[in-house]
Amino acid sequence: MTILTVAIKYLRGRLLASVLTTVSIALGVGLVIASILVSRGIKEGFVAGATDYNLVVGAKGSPTQLVLAVVFRMDIATPNIEYTVYEELKDDPRIDVAVPVMVGDAYQGFRYVATNSAYFAVFPWRRRMYSLSSGRFFRDDPVDSPAYEAVLGAEAAGGTGLRLGDRFYEGEEMADHPLTVVGILRPTHSADDRAIFISLSSFWGMNELAHGMVIKPLTAVLVRPKRLSDITGLHRERNVAAETQAVLPSGVLLTIFNMMAVAQEALNMILVIVGVIVLIYVFVAMYSATLERRREIATMRALGARRATVLAIVLVESGTLAVAGGIGGILAGHAAAYLAAAMLAARSGLVSQPFQFDAVQPAVLAIVILLGALAGLLPAVLAYRTEVAENLAPLS
């Protein structure tokens, strides 16, 4: 029999204890893997979902709220600004593209986003392209005769079950102006997949307050300057104005990442404590198992087994537990990350990839095997030093 065969036989001999030890290792490893994948996924989801526009101009208030509401639609919208802000920006010679955005209520949880056709236009600097899986984009209809047409994001179409030509509304106040689905977008892997896009005129027509306003309201204006070096000037001008603020979306996301880094550090400390607890548990399990079978070890030694063989058997036992727990933990961690990613996507539209395999998984497995062997080292030395004569003495 090889050392591995003997070690596995020993593990099977105390199956319940072996399974519980493996599960405890798997839980610890799974927790580490899941936390790494989820935090990385959230960050990558924010990066992937970020806007191509360099500035977001909105009402005075929290920059984070403005970006989360307008770009990621995770927060309630900031107070309105006047449509004239958009007109000023559009006519500014330093600005290449300005896109008005109005974030509204929701239909079955999918937010209304009112904008114009520039939102979907193709520009050389755009990373995200909008294309239709069916239908057409809505037209830039005049304010006095809104068309009440809607273009659905891919997830919004799937989630609501709406199809081309369907008319829909939610709430009594919208019953007079049901929207007609004229297009469905292909997935963009961003918050836009969960949006229902309508024209500004349709939005103002549906909204009683906005309908009566002479100067129409907006939530924000997305801005792309002709020269990026003008960003600081535009940013300053809009921030010193009494009603508006300008925000660099990437700057806001980097601030969020900074806060996440602090939370991650606290989580890392918890994970280290969990790792130490698992390590102690493996050590106690292996130590008590070795104590229990000192008589067997003495018998093996009496039958000719060398001290090194006994040492190796115990080390292989703890190593086997570590390998099984490590692999199980990596699989469990990925499963947990997948569930978390699905939940995040459903609730916030953040799209992350939970099945990324890179250096993290092999590194975690190697560390687990090393720590597993370390936890088995003292019991292995105990087995190594087992005295034959002393332990083969009659029990009574």
Binding site: V47, A50, L228, S229, D230, T232, L248, G251, L254, N258
Partner: protein
């Protein structure tokens, strides 16, 4: 007479130990000898006809160091950003926003991992490019740093137009 070889061996050993102790510091000092450019130099390099001086062009293709504020004008992984003499969030400051002459496009060698602070000065090292250039993603720029590495510049002074850093002043 017998002692002599021992003394030589001891001295050789001592010299080797000293060399090995000082070598990393020497190498580090050698690697630190990267010319530092300032925004003042960049501004001064622009002539009336918008051409750049030969002295600033001579840095093109060479590794340089420049200090400034990060303006996150690109994606949030900071693979591309602008480095500016003035902070992007200096609403409460007396500094006038800068233009193209005091803005450097920075293309990072890899995704930058740092705690972003709009009011902190960062040190950027990379391959310098001078001269008007335009790309579809980021538009036109006068100065660029590619394959850049970024880190916080602790206690670094920012030189304004008209000021000259001691290192630049010492050069002929």
């Amino acid at each position: 007479m017998r002692r002599y070889p021992r003394t030589r061996a001891f001295r050789a050993c001592l010299a080797a130990c000293l060399c090995s102790a000082l070598l990393p510091a020497t190498l580090r000092a050698a690697s630190d000898e990267v010319p530092r450019l300032t925004f003042a130099q960049l501004v001064d390099s622009i002539r009336a006809d918008s051409e750049l001086t030969q002295s600033i062009k001579s840095y093109s293709g060479k590794e340089i160091e420049i200090h400034g504020f990060i303006v996150p004008a690109g994606p949030p992984d900071l693979s591309f950003f602008m480095l500016s003499r003035v902070s992007a969030l200096g609403n409460y400051c007396c500094e006038v926003p800068v233009g193209q002459d005091e803005t450097v496009f920075v293309f990072a060698a890899k995704a930058v991992k740092l705690l972003y602070d709009p009011l902190r000065v960062y040190k950027v090292r990379g391959v310098f490019e001078a001269g008007m250039s335009s790309d579809p993603a980021n538009g036109s720029s006068l100065f660029r740093v590619r394959q850049a590495r970024v880190e916080e510049a602790v206690g670094a002074p920012i030189f304004k137009v008209g000021e000259t850093p001691p290192a630049a002043a010492a050069k002929p």
